[in-house]
Amino acid sequence: MRSFVSNSPTIAPATPLNPRRCGIIVGASEGMGAALAKKLAKEGFTLALIARQKDKLQTLCGEINSSLNETRALPYVHDVSNYHEVPDLLRMIVADLGGLDTIVFMAGVNYPPGGVDKYNFENDRKMIEINLIGGMAWLTPVAEMFQNAKAGQIVGIGSVAGDRGRIGNPGYNTSKAGLATYLEALRNRLTRHGVNVLTVKPGFVKTEMLKAAQGATPFAITPEKAADDIYKAMRKRRQSIYTASLWRWVMLIIQHVPSAIFRRMAF
């Protein structure tokens, strides 16, 4: 049984003088995903929005479509950990949109173990299943599609947390580091085929996820600011960005802290 339903393609026909740019956002119902959906729709994209929560998703699509007075966002209910659904759903979305130019893999969960001396394999596993394997489940077939089409853009949301393994949340660090490495590998494969792969590494963004974070949250930005940064990087076809951009310099330092010191830090 498929848990998703097809949307009737009621979107305006694409013509040379009214071209359609199509995108998928996986994990679009709230936070950065929702903010990016609004931003991309405003910039002219027609979007397939994917999330688990049907109500939130439909509200968001309704909001976007009524603000632009045109069907520009189509909702698809899907749980990223249902990997087997991806090929059918992807095919249906590409047929509904009439093509695909961009995919943004935004879905992510963060379940901190609740202390530096706590361990929780089940939570770690969930984070890997959604943040990393979910990303691979979506981006692998899209990468193949884009390679054949010799065009396209893949955007993956990593994290500053993926740059070093730290004491606070090993599972989350691993999931984001894994995704970043996977995106790098896709970039190396696909650049020669005219496909852009953008890795976005947000620092702290004021979303639901941030509420779960422990300790200080410096340089926290709004989801809208993050969405603006991501769109700008997409337009310039950048390879990798931090948002806020200040994190680039912070992480440059952190990445170069020798292990002998890093393993003694309370960070």
Partner: protein, 469 residues
């Protein structure tokens, strides 16, 4: 069945549609593709050479059947001039097959790269439309496979409703599997061509109308940038077949090597590079210069002899010429108007294009007569095809202007041709076909394709029903 995900484009490079490409080799394989499409929940469209200026051979996100592997001649009868072949055979293959034996395809398009399946689907016309009609009028029989799996045979008498609807039906009822065509007898590989200038639109149209009865082919070039008293000026080329006995050595002139277009200019410069040198002129100023020079050169009235291929396939003269229009490509806007209203309507449209500073860089006029196909584009009058460059800056303005053009054409009793126009809306299509014709077409569609498997981007644009899938 092998399916490859591929980026497909229209001829003008102004649209892109990624699709699963399947290359069938037989009617059975076409039916397998239908079954696969049904299983996967995808639509299917047939694609010939991909030479349409719009979305007729595009099916974004769906299955495109690349018909080019079905390119075999099944039967060629030199005595009667009847040829039976698969739909992927191109006009180029066809004329090269029949011409050495003293025959020529009765109708050809401005390019020889098109496939016969595509020619029938669009029911193409040539520069002899006023005399010979469309290609459909020379089809003796065709076979097709429907999405239901049924294989049908159609002639003007047998399955006549489908014969007159599938020709010109844009491949949305079924897919041709074989086509039997009647060739036209010729007595020389040459045509006698008269070239003469026309000073304005009125003379352009009267030149076509008065000239047509005296010739076998007639076509006008229009300088889309000329204004004022010269609005619609240009040059008419009118050609006659060389009659039996006039050509002393027809075997020689009908040889393929005496027909084909030379690949180099002055024997040295490869024409495949020419489009790079044309790009810098593809703007209002550059085209004004070129058109003015071309018009001045055309002022000398003259008569000459020219091989068939050179006269007909002007669009193949510069390979990849459409690339010279730049990254966003070009679109063509062709309108068909009754002879009574054409001059006034096109005067208004040309003036509008000048006012918007969006002139057509190439204008082509032809003389037409009506035909009895269901989705006919023809009228007793004329057609004007205008090429427009697409740029990011001009898109919105050009779109608004073409919608104004649509209103003028509809108000003047005109029609459109779906191999060309890319902006025509469903409302416009309904207006010029009339609800009765559209209802008739949709009824046939339901009968041939109950699961709505055959859909192209064109179909969805002009016949698509919302919320029905």
């Amino acid at each position: 069945m092998q399916k490859t995900f591929t980026q497909l484009e229209n001829f003008g490079h102004s649209l892109r549609a990624p699709s699963y490409l399947i290359q069938p080799k037989s009617a059975e394989e076409i039916y397998s593709a239908f079954k696969l499409a049904k299983k996967l929940g995808l639509n299917v469209t047939a694609r010939g050479a991909g030479r349409s200026y719009n979305d007729a051979a595009l099916n974004g996100g769906g299955i495109a059947l690349d018909m080019s592997a079905m390119d075999q001649f099944i039967k060629w009868d030199q005595a009667t001039g009847q040829v039976r072949c698969e739909p992927g055979v191109t006009l180029e293959q066809l004329w090269q097959k029949v011409e050495p034996h003293g025959w020529w395809p009765p109708i050809v398009s401005g390019t020889m790269k098109t496939t016969l399946g595509g020619c029938l689907a669009a029911n193409i016309h040539g520069k002899n439309n006023f005399k010979m009609g469309t290609i459909g009028e020379h089809v003796i029989e065709f076979t097709a496979v429907l999405p239901t799996g049924a294989e049908i045979v159609c002639t003007p008498k047998k399955n006549a409703d489908l014969f007159f609807a599938m020709i010109g039906g844009y491949g949305m009822l079924g897919i041709f599997t074989s086509i039997t065509l009647q060739m036209k007898r010729i007595h020389s590989g040459l045509l006698t061509v008269d070239a003469f200038p026309v000073q304005n639109l009125s003379r352009q149209l009267s030149g076509l109308q008065d000239g047509a009865p005296n010739y076998d082919y007639i076509v006008g070039w229009m300088d889309g940038l000329a204004s004022g008293n010269s609005l619609g000026r240009g040059q008419i080329h009118a050609a006659r077949y060389v009659h039996e006995g006039e050509d002393k050595n027809p075997r020689e002139t009908m040889k393929i090597q005496n027909q084909i277009l030379p690949p180099r200019i002055f024997g040295v410069f490869p024409k495949s590079l020419l489009h790079y040198f044309m790009s810098p002129f593809m703007n209002n100023f550059g085209t004004w210069g070129i058109n003015t020079a071309k018009y001045i050169a055309s002022l000398r009235k003259h008569t000459f002899q020219q091989p068939h291929a050179a006269f007909h396939f002007l669009l193949d003269y510069v390979p990849n010429w459409e690339r010279s229009y730049g990254r966003s490509g070009l679109i063509q806007y062709q309108s068909f108007l009754p002879k009574e209203t054409a001059e006034a309507a096109w005067t208004e449209m040309l003036k509008l294009s000048h006012k918007n500073r969006l002139p057509s860089y190439l204008g082509v006029t032809k003389r037409h007569r009506p035909d009895k196909f269901l989705l006919t584009h023809a009228v007793d009058g004329f057609s004007l095809a205008m090429d427009f460059k697409v740029t990011d800056a001009s898109r919105a303005k050009l779109r608004a202007m073409l919608h104004d053009f649509d209103k003028i054409v509809l108000a003047s009793g005109g029609r459109f041709y779906f191999a060309k126009n890319s902006e025509t809306t469903a409302e416009t299509a309904l207006a010029f076909y009339g609800p009765e014709t559209v209802a008739k077409y949709k009824k046939l569609k339901k009968r041939c394709d109950p699961n709505r498997l055959l859909e192209s981007d064109l179909y969805r644009r002009v016949f698509g029903e919302k919320d029905e899938r």
